[in-house]
């Protein structure tokens, strides 16, 4: 007995000790300390604009401000004429379409649906002055708005419905004397408010990022990296790194995590082996819209209802509009778990000239290309914005409604609440065929989530994906995910094999026992 115990201990104990000793202690990648050091250095501007003679005056003409900027920054105006912030379109190659020139300028979405006939209000966010219709001059460098991106006072305001022009009577002298590198406030002025309000569109870009903690966003959090957008979205000659796939199509000039963190960012190689197939964002952004809610569903078909003959609005308990006569029904959500899909960095878009497939469950406004078998594809987290928007059931095209005008009676939906007229005006403006009939079609739009990166301690754990039930990857197809994927036949046959073995053994034992007793009984008798 003593021998037995000693023997078992001499086998088992060393194994346990070895296992415990081999257990890796969690370490932080030394690269992180370097990055923190690098990005905590304050940006020191090379120029104090308040000392420039040309800026010791007030302005009342915005074009004149731009001309004054260009008087020193002589090449920047021409350069801006090629910036996507000004052109709102890019030359891209799309598989199946060839070379395309697409962007916010001419693409649809399932939020406010598109800028056509609504330029004066939508293009408040254009880095330019005066784009109110199709006649805007994209070749005039004095149409560029420098201040919306470079005002460092945080006070510069563009006029609502002003086609990109600033509100008059601002203290332009102070503003122009305090221009510099774009801050979060500059970028956020437009990018936080896509879709017509804070966090409506993206879900991971919103005002809270100006004051958020590192729990919300490790990079931008004021107690975290306190980084600016342009720290990652660097620019060369006013061409930014970064892609928003509601309007982009190609896998180029993307701002990636790997730019700083390399493609082997973890100390544990088991985690690094995930990198080729799993985007960093998938684990490190477990949820988005962490502070304010984001719009998840937008049903235009219910727009136009009246209460006592007037337009009205309904709000949820958090103050988000769940019904507006001018916009229809909406669903809002905060702390949203993203949906996951394969994505290789290229995308397609539904064009005004494309045909609606009425047999499909929904119409994809944009399509993120990718699959498990494509070596360029990784699993990414995305916000999926679902909606219902007008289309022409005869010509099977998506319809563009006129939403906005300065005054009532001109067919703008938001003023007159008349779909028939709004669609007629919108399509007339576009000069595209319209049968006069309209219906609504379910649409989906895919917005990859890239911001609101959580601290590493809050990243997804293995079990979030590697589990039979509730795996975050449950709708991701084509990948074998240990702990999640099973092949029913193997498990069924395997379990059957075990059950048969157990049953065989038990049956054998019982027969052995009975016959043993019989033999003993007869020999005793």
């Amino acid at each position: 007995m003593k021998n037995t115990v000693t023997f078992i201990l001499s086998v088992v104990v060393p194994l346990i000790i070895i296992t415990v000793v081999l257990r890796d202690a969690k370490q932080e990648n030394p690269l992180l300390a370097e990055l923190k050091e690098e990005y905590s250095q304050p940006h020191i501007p090379s120029v104090d604009h308040s000392k420039h003679e040309a800026l010791q005056r007030d302005f009342d003409n915005p074009h004149e401000i731009t001309a004054t900027c260009i008087s020193c920054h002589t090449e920047r105006g021409e350069e801006m004429l090629n910036s996507f912030h000004f052109t709102w379109e890019r030359e891209d190659f799309i598989e199946g379409r060839g070379v395309t020139y697409l962007g916010k300028k001419n693409l649809l979405n399932n939020f406010c649906t598109g800028i056509f006939s609504n330029e004066s209000t939508c293009n408040r966010c254009h880095a330019g002055f005066g784009w109110e219709d199709m006649d805007f001059d994209f070749t005039n460098q004095y149409n560029v708005d420098c201040l919306v991106c470079h005002d460092n006072t945080g006070t510069y305001e563009k006029l609502k419905g002003g086609a990109g022009y600033p509100e008059p009577n601002q203290d332009f002298q102070t503003i122009v004397q305090n221009v510099g590198r774009p801050t979060k406030t500059n970028c956020g002025y437009c990018h936080f408010h896509g879709g017509g309000g804070n966090n409506v569109k993206h879900g991971d870009l919103e005002e809270a990022l100006l004051t958020a903690s590192r729990q919300v966003d490790v990079h931008m959090g004021v107690d975290g990296g306190n980084m600016d957008c342009v720290d990652c979205h660097t620019a060369t000659n006013h061409v930014m790194k970064g892609r928003y796939y509601g309007v982009s199509s190609s896998n180029t000039r993307r701002a990636t995590c790997e730019d700083c963190h390399t493609s082997t960012p973890h100390m544990e190689s088991m985690l690094n082996t995930h990198v080729p197939k799993i985007a960093c964002q998938t684990c490190h952004i477990p949820e988005y819209a962490k502070v304010n809610a984001t719009k998840m569903y937008w049903d235009w078909s219910t727009a136009g209802d009246l209460e006592d003959g007037k337009a009205f609005e309904l709000y949820d308990s958090l103050g988000n509009p769940i019904y507006q006569s001018i916009k229809g029904d909406a669903t809002w959500q905060s702390n949203v778990e993203p949906e996951y899909m394969w994505f290789n960095g290229t995308a397609d878009h539904f064009l005004l000239s494309d045909k609606v497939d009425t047999t499909a469950a929904f119409l994809p406004i944009n399509t993120l290309f990718g699959s498990a078998t494509d070596p360029e594809s990784r699993i990414i987290p995305a916000k999926v914005h679902r909606g219902r928007q007008p289309y022409d059931p005869v010509y099977l095209s998506i319809l563009q409604a006129k939403l906005w005008d300065r005054e009532a009676g001109k067919g703008a939906l938001w003023l007159d609440l008349d779909w028939e007229r709004a669609l007629e005006e919108g399509m007339k403006y576009l000069d595209r065929p319209y049968s006069g009939q309209w219906d609504f079609v379910d649409t989906e739009m895919y917005l990859p989530v890239n911001h609101m990166v959580s601290p590493a301690s809050e990243a997804l754990t293995c079990e979030d994906c590697h589990s039979r039930n509730d795996s975050r990857m449950q709708f991701v197809e084509g990948a074998y995910i240990p702990g999640k994927t099973t092949y029913a036949a193997i498990d069924t046959i395997g379990v059957l094999l075990i059950i048969l073995s157990v049953m065989g053994v038990i049956t054998h034992a019982i027969i052995r026992y009975i016959s043993y007793r019989k033999i003993n009984h007869s020999s005793n008798a």
């Binding site: 021998n3 493609s263 994927t485």
Partner: protein
Amino acid sequence: MAKTEKVYIYKLYERFWHWTQAFLIFFLALTGFEVHGSFTFFGFENAVDLHNKAAWAFIILTIFTIFWHFTTGEWKQYMPTTENLRAQAEYYVFGIFRNAPHPTRKTVLSKLNPLQRLVYLSLKILVFPVMIASGLAYMFYRYPSQGEIKELGVSSLEAVAYAHTIGAYFLMAFVIVHLYLITTGHTVTSNLKAMVTGWEELETEEGEIPESKTAGEPVGEKLDKPGEQPDPDPEKI
């Protein structure tokens, strides 16, 4: 009536190998089926980590044991034979219930009956190689090298994982039957005692000289002479 004699049948390394392997197979099954998603015990991350480490221990043990098999000549114990194969099968199906004698006599030179030879040999040349190869492919189908992640060129993790899973189910079935067959020795516990202490009460025919008379006397080198094995069929003696 058969006499019994105490014989030193399992040497120290053999027992060390057997029990370490038994522990590892149990532990690999526990962690492996957790990785497979069958249940939760250690947590997925720990299960993967422990499974990989136990796998390395298993591989190292296997390398040492292959060495041992060849240096001691013990590999010959696993050479398959059709002789008595049928008798052995019939024993488990009929004879055992009638208290019939074991058709194969266990000796130091031939400790495995023909069924055991077949099963253990197929474990050694089929199941273990498949498990180790698929396990290594599973571990290294993507691996870090010089600051980047390289691919081993395994086209599909799926096929690798399925092979590994099928092997695991076979091993589980083997373990269940093996555990039961332990009880079918001379007495219910004699096989177990033998694998723990090395000594086993073996049936001997009257007048026969057992292979080893003295406790602890090494007998392995005798195995290097094939053809010296006694006739395994007691009926013929």
